[in-house]
Symmetry: C2
């Protein structure tokens, strides 16, 4: 969610992220430099107020979670087929901003009613259809994601974090019924990095360990490698390496410092945080 | 200010901005299409909750404006020289994250103390130093911006808007003491565009008319044009056309529909809104 009010504090002096203009700053008379220091002290106080603002917005997220919850529960019941919607619950067009005749054509194309409950492969299609996630899904991920029954989020205030939970039906691929990823936030900046403050910062991301059934782990693949040296020089040895998979999303870099082994997961992580 | 929690609602179905997958949707059995309609109705209810969230954030902006105000007032007093800061108000380093010896060098480079009050050309240098505004400033704008004494913002709830005010000392260029630009927001989406809702939307932008002193209007320039046809064919006629200037910032497109004559102003407008 993007808050639309421009943050005039960012236009203060000195600017976060901006290179200080040494020439300009050096030339300033000492009595003017004093005033610049005073401005910096005011800026520090402004940053404290800004951080408090973000604390309040985070609390607001928690408050609204309760309002979204029943709606998301309804969504889940419709998707999984726990509940068949009443006519009154369906009285909106299949597509918005669409000519009735186009919608009619869509109904003509309908396959015969099936006895299947809910909406088959709903979340698989959501992830395939969303540009943040579509590129992450490999062919070997698709059959697994057909077991995805719901995606939920939750917000925590202490510690400040938000969590994305992927709920799965019982399946032959892994034992987990929920795979979750938690983003821990630093809302109040550290004393020594206040001038870099630009809103809450993701300081740590954790993902659930997937308990794969034997031979079902799509995030690893075996490769044959010719040994260069040692006793086995020239021999081919089998080595297990990381494979592209949507499920690497749950194996994020342990810290911001750690070099990221999974560009895809990092891309979506940042994209989702900045969304 | 960016709100950091990813909006899982955006991952609902159908996606805002996403092209509906006609093939996928058409093939769905009629009883499944019914359930998709039910999901859309749930999605509409979610969007209403989301809009309420943004209303609350906007109200929070207004609440925090009162907390920023005294700090911005202090900043103004230091910048304009209305107030000379006490030693206690200056006890922070001239530059953060900087080695003391580098700071010492900056002090060595200091010119002799001047009798000038405050910090000369502070806001001119802020605007020159900020990448959102530096490109807008033309050579003929610089002397005018030396009279800029403060930049303030204000938020309004009814109608929802925010305003940027540029305060100027008495100057030989224009009569206005304040030039302001107001951004009007649509926080609650219209019924027919709910599925496109992605947070508050700037629906109208207004800027103050600058009362230029005679011959001082830097946003206009006279060009000589050879007449192609008519009685004056072949003669050179003087024509007044729009000139590049920072002050075009206050002459935004009247509506989103209107073709934008000032790419620069449009760029900064959007950049500031999305900031």
């Amino acid at each position: 969610m993007a808050q639309e009010i421009p943050n005039i504090e960012d236009m203060g002096f000195p600017f976060p992220q901006a290179q200080p203009n040494f020439e300009l700053l050096g030339a300033l008379p000492k009595n003017v430099k004093r005033r610049v220091c005073a401005l910096k002290k005011v800026q520090l106080a402004s940053i404290d107020v800004e951080a408090k603002f973000y604390e309040r917005v985070h609390a607001l997220e928690l408050e609204f979670e309760a309002l979204f919850k029943p709606l998301n529960e309804q969504r889940k019941q419709i998707v999984t087929g726990e509940k068949e919607p009443t006519d009154a619950e369906c009285d909106v067009p299949l597509l918005h901003d669409t000519q009735p005749d186009v919608i009619d054509q869509l109904y003509e194309k309908s396959e015969a009613d099936s006895n299947e409950k809910g909406i088959k492969d709903f979340w698989l299609n959501v992830l395939k259809g969303h540009d943040l996630t579509s590129d992450l899904i490999q062919e070997h991920d698709t059959p697994i994601l057909t077991y995805l029954t719901d995606i939920t989020t939750s917000t925590s205030v202490d510690p400040a974090s938000f969590t994305i939970k992927f709920h799965f039906a019982e399946n032959p691929y892994f034992k987990n019924s929920v795979l979750q990823k938690e983003y821990f936030l630093e809302i109040i900046p550290q004393e020594d990095s206040k001038f870099d403050f630009d809103g809450p910062n993701v300081i740590r991301v954790t993902g659930d360990k997937i308990e794969w059934e034997d031979g079902k782990n799509v995030t690893k693949k075996a490769v044959k490698k010719k040994q260069k040296k040692g006793a086995n020089a020239g021999k081919f040895m089998t080595k297990t390496v990381k494979a592209d998979s949507f499920f690497n999303f749950f194996d994020p870099p342990k810290s911001a410092d750690e070099t990221n082994e999974d560009e895809d997961a990092e891309t979506i992580l940042i994209a989702m945080i900045r969304a």
